[in-house]
Symmetry: C2
Subunit: 430 residues, 2 copies
């Protein structure tokens, strides 16, 4: 029975996929409920799903009106999982509340860097942070105690940043003040003046954290680099996609390689499509479920996004992780064992039982953002993918599995996505 | 006799090279003079040879004092060949006059973009220019009639440049004004705010010159791209090399490739080490020789630089071009033919006789810039090169020939370089 259920609710919907180009209101898979509808949770991407740039997508407001009851309480746990990172959760929650005309709490918002809270081994190190906005405040809020910004580095080593003629030292050469040694580099999001950040980060990597040293490419691997938000492209108001932090990473990787001949190494890549991000989202969904007074664990996640390489790939990768985890558990139970499955990693560190993990995560692709039905042909079969012209727009370090870009469903917009989910789960939405 | 002379004065100084690590005052090759010393010309690189950042290198002032007579007239034709490009010749000449305490005329200065004057086929096209400083004025001075800057493009399409949160459209979405179609892109030098130029150039390339169009990677090859100054790194006051325009090109090439899967194509790569740059320098040297009242053509060039991949590679590549050219001429003469050698390209377009080209160009590497004897081991033999750790720091599109990074001579600084040349040529310097 357990096995049948897993097979039926499996992450990879081999059957029925061809028909999913438009909203397919017939069930693409069925679930069995012995005691009424199962509890589920919703993960919403923001850019390209709820907004484009600063402009709300009309369907978003309409569907959020239905997601709350008359007192503003959500009917199901809702978490916003964005790869944006150059801001605070509070700011993002306020912005969402405004555009959705529905109260969104900071606890429901997860930015690309949120999982860094769990990387406690780096919290006491001296870290160089790159991004824009309140990067220092963001870093402190995540638990980092000793934070150096690019601007601090520029000020301490005034001869390093000379691409802009107007920022070069004028008549006298300012003295180098120096700074404590940097132990790790954290890339929060796309900075401004990429030339400055690229030059200074490369300086730090080639000098083992102290730009007073000579460049020494022999120092390899370099000090740890942690990067949040790999999104190559995202949709704002412009008709064509705009550059995201992933593009900055492409620059950094290639400049480092051009100088040293070696690959830039990441200690961690955080944000969708990393599993670590979904582990953290799971924690937030669980907290939301508790707030709603739910006593049964959430059984299924629905991740709604516009980017095949981030939202869909990530949700499917996480689903695969859940399936592997459950399968291992089933095998152990069948053998009469009591150990936890080896591949199950507890994200919250609270050592909770494995059965509080959801059974699976479905991915729903909307056409209001990066992905558009007009521009791109949908795959004719499971061997093809929705990435444009089969060009890999994911990150260099993700071993690309084309099958993971296949969404469970494709719908026009977020309103259709939510309606589909409630219909699938046989929950009332109106 | 002619053949013997060519062999002796050949560009590749296979013998005696090992001893060239320090100033080797014994003649590394000998030349035969039937009627007194031969006329020669000097090509000086600027950054890392005469200055580091804004700081003059002391040896430069000393040696320039000797290069002019009591009335300030140069003893031999002198031309400054820099890969810098974000300024006007006039400005560069004034700066040089000041730091060398010797009058330098704008006619003696050649910037990386100077050869664009010869690219008349692009002069009537609508060109997008990228760089910093007076790019529009530079473009007009070179002969371009219809010039669009990145700032003009930003203003006409206000939704395109959104990496910097503070420059994103605020409350209302500004209207797209549009612009005439762009026919070609000219990259003068490293801009500021690389993210803006990278995004907008990619937009122009993917929309066939009209950012109102949808991105269409099928449009390949894209509209022509001409790039000046491929220098990856250069030496300013900082102890480690700084990013040059070559690094910006690495970013652009890799972002274009990441999005489209195709290679960015260059219509032309201008500046050292391109032969087109030396063709143009030859023209300037000839003009300087005329000013000095010389009636015999300049027989040999000495190119003094700090960058093995730009100055040395370029001088050697040009020397190889001259040798091939002369060899073809000798063969034709031996056959009694009267045609010009097929590989000889007239840079000035004046259809001058081939024998006004110099016979060869020697390369002299100084240790005051990118290349340093302390940091790098000199090659033990002709199969090894002076590039660091054998990592290719040249441009992607230059088929790398390691032998071309071997300088004819290695000296400490520019003063030693000039002394060596005058000794070689048996000309009085004092």
């Amino acid at each position: 029975m357990q096995r049948l259920k897993l097979l039926k609710a499996g992450w990879k919907l081999q059957t029925g996929y061809k028909g999913a180009n438009h909203v397919n209101k017939s069930a693409l898979f069925s679930r069995e409920y012995s005691e009424g509808p199962s509890p589920f949770g919703l993960l919403f991407d923001i850019d390209g799903v709820l907004v484009r740039g600063r402009t709300p997508i009309p369907a978003a407001k309409q569907c959020f009106r239905k997601l709350v009851d008359h007192s503003g309480k959500y009917k199901v746990p809702v978490v916003f999982v964005t790869n944006a990172g150059n801001c605070m959760r509070q700011t993002k929650a306020e912005h969402l509340s405004q555009i959705l005309e529905t109260e969104v709490s900071p606890d429901q918002v997860m930015l690309s860097h949120s999982p860094l809270r769990m990387f406690t081994q780096f919290h006491k190190m001296c870290v160089l942070v790159s991004g824009q906005g309140p990067v220092k405040e963001v870093a402190h809020n995540l638990g980092f105690e000793d934070v150096i910004t690019i601007d601090m580095l520029r000020e301490a080593y005034p001869l390093l940043d000379v691409v802009d003629h107007d920022r070069r030292p004028k008549d006298t050469i300012p003295p180098t003040k120096g700074l404590r040694k940097i132990d790790a580099v954290i890339l929060f999001g796309e900075p401004v003046r990429w030339e400055t950040n690229l030059q200074l980060i490369v300086d730090v990597l080639l000098t083992n954290g102290d730009p007073d040293n000579n460049w020494n490419a022999v120092q390899y691997p370099h000090i740890p680099v942690l990067a949040c938000n790999m999104d190559l492209l995202w949709m704002a108001e412009a008709k064509n996609p705009r550059f995201g932090h992933g593009m900055f990473l492409v620059c950094l990787e290639n400049l480092y390689k051009k100088i040293t001949g070696c690959d830039l190494k990441y200690e961690a890549l955080i944000g969708k499509p990393s599993v670590v991000t979904y582990n953290y989202a799971e924690l937030l969904i669980r907290q939301q479920a508790q707030k709603l007074g739910w006593t049964t664990p959430v059984k299924r996640f629905y991740a709604i996004g516009d980017n095949p390489m981030a939202d869909i790939y990530g949700a499917n990768l996480y689903n695969r992780y859940l399936q592997t985890s459950h399968k291992a558990k089933v095998q152990i139970q069948a053998k009469g064992g009591m150990d936890s499955p080896t591949e199950s990693v507890s994200s919250s560190g609270q050592g909770e039982a494995d059965d509080i993990h959801p059974e699976g995560c479905s991915s729903i692709l909307v056409c209001t953002g990066v992905y558009s039905k007009d521009q791109e042909e949908l795959p004719a079969g499971p061997s093809e993918t929705v990435t444009e012209q089969k060009i890999f727009h994911g990150h260099r370090d993700f071993r690309f599995d084309p099958s993971l870009t296949q969404p469970s469903f494709v719908v026009n917009d977020v309103k259709e996505a939510v309606e589909l989910v409630f219909q699938q789960e046989e929950w009332p939405l109106e």
